[in-house]
Subunit: 295 residues, 2 copies
DNA sequence: AAACCAATGATCCATATGTTTCATACTATA
DNA sequence: TATAGTATGAAACATATGGATCATTGGTTT
């Protein structure tokens, strides 16, 4: 339990001034915060051997509008688990009161921030690692992401291009995207990115690859995504945002982490490859730091 | 998230034979187990966008006596999860260096999370809002992002495409990307995305547009980026990561927030446009939820 | 076309919930 | 001892909740 819970500290601080019954209630709340979040007030009162009204009185005593708020706070604490990082983010939400328009922005960004923090959970990390391992041992990496997931697939492929020539982006004009699979073998792996609603074409191409013996790994949004069943490894990314659209930011973050893990797997080779890219692009005069003069 | 939860596995196993509404409910339950434990059934139903009765039906479908049992099981999982989590963390600490890879991942993800949280600062929010305002009043929005920023530009354009036809992506085969600017006027705005190293072509096209009177807004990485000087509005995004590569996750997040602000500006129109898209794509049979059968 | 069936939505119901009110018991001060 | 003030318990209240019922829909089969 994180000791940095403001409500808990308040209860402890005011404990001495409480009446005996309030103390008994407060003590139970302190000792069993999960129960407060999970069961009804009357039940908590029964466990604490206290009248239901006492729980309400406790909440009011603490300056809260009612018992519901007390439970809500315990629920929030439980939701975030021991992830102190997300807790800090959440804390800021209540502080700031800004313009209406930037409220939307703030909510979205803080939500995304929390989602990324959550990706640090052991389960996600394990999946990341396993997927990276699978990709490392591949001869070729076919990257597939259609429609909304195109951006993620493209970027993953772009970064991988900087590291070598193992990556093949399954995307081409006139529906020729899948053609690169012609010479795919069982030594290869395909990274499929797809979120709800799942593009039919992506599923079909992935299925085709699988039947050719290509190993499938995926980034998708749910345990019941059709990709899960056909993948050797899957990384789950949240996509909810309080806007009209699903967010791809967590998916991109995952993709970038995967690239990093792959790059770090062989640092010397990575460094060499990057230097090579630098030289090549500087010869092509690709980059600039000044506003171009035009005549 | 404990992957070995019998109830979860049962839901996953039976997911395929559920009716669409049940699937929708089940999907939410799988993706948000904490909410099931913490809030009322009706609220869960609201979040999952299903009828309250559907939640009851889901519980019965799973062989449980009622929804209460479903919540009880999730509550139990959460209870043991909260103190089980600390144990897992401790375990990881004891294991020590065994998982170097997930250390990298954790660092990256937490760093990204912090960067997104930082974007909520007043200055960033002001810039976001100003940029969104500028984009709203535009006749056409030309979107330009080359090389590493292509993914961001593409995704912004993709989302804007769902909302209407104001967006034009400046990207084409054979170096024809800038051609769409032929009919650009001073009523139009160009959104340029570029980070260091700045692609020379992007700067040139932007400069060309500016000389045609097109308003420039940009997403870039520094106050001294060449884009700042030529832009009416600029949003700064961090790009540092402890990997070899610059991260584009914050830039994507910003782009998504911009899209949301634009969408929210005219909710009725947005909803109508999205519905239109839905119909169109469903007629094209674009999406699927099942693994495609192949013969 | 007709008839059936499962699936979904809308409505109603009994109950449990959080809160309030009121009466009683307790304690401290004069 | 009398009394004011508080703490506690019991009961009543409006409401929200989970569950059940019935009508409607949409797709299949005969």
């Amino acid at each position: 339990m994180p000791p940095s819970d403001p409500l808990r500290e308040q209860i402890i601080a005011q404990y001495d001034v409480m009446s005996p019954q309030l103390q008994q209630a407060a003590r139970y709340v302190l000792d069993h915060p999960e129960e407060v979040a999970l069961v009804s007030m009357r039940e908590v009162a029964r466990y604490a051997a206290v009248q239901p009204a006492t729980m309400t009185r406790l909440a009011k005593f603490l300056g809260l509008p009612g018992y519901d708020e007390l439970r809500a706070q315990h629920a929030a604490a439980l939701r975030q688990g021991s992830d102190g990082f997300a807790a800090k983010v959440r804390q800021r939400v209540d502080e700031g009161r800004e313009t209406v328009a930037s409220d939307t922005a703030t909510h979205m960004l803080q939500g995304l921030s929390a989602q990324l923090a959550k990706l640090c959970e052991p389960d996600s990390l394990r999946r990341l690692e396993a997927t990276a391992d699978r990709l490392m041992s591949a001869r070729k990496i076919y990257v597939l992401g259609l429609r909304s997931c195109h951006a993620i697939a493209w970027h993953f492929h772009y970064v991988m291009t900087l590291l070598g020539d193992r990556s093949v982006h399954l995307d081409g004009p006139g529906g020729t995207g899948g053609d690169a699979l012609i010479r795919a073998t069982s030594e290869d792996v395909m990274l499929v990115i797809s979120i709800k609603p799942y593009a039919r074409d992506a599923l079909e191409v992935a299925q085709l690859a699988k039947e050719k013996g290509v190993g499938i790994v995926s980034i998708t949004d749910s345990e019941v995504s059709p990709l899960v069943a056909m993948s050797a490894q899957t990384i789950l990314c949240p996509t909810e945002s309080d806007s009209f659209f699903h967010t791809l930011t967590p998916a991109l973050a995952i993709s970038e982490v995967l690239c990093s893990l792959l790059a770090e797997f062989d640092r010397p080779k990575t460094l060499e490859a990057l230097q090579q890219v630098d030289e090549h692009l500087s010869h092509l005069n690709t980059y600039s730091t000044a506003i171009p003069r035009r005549q």
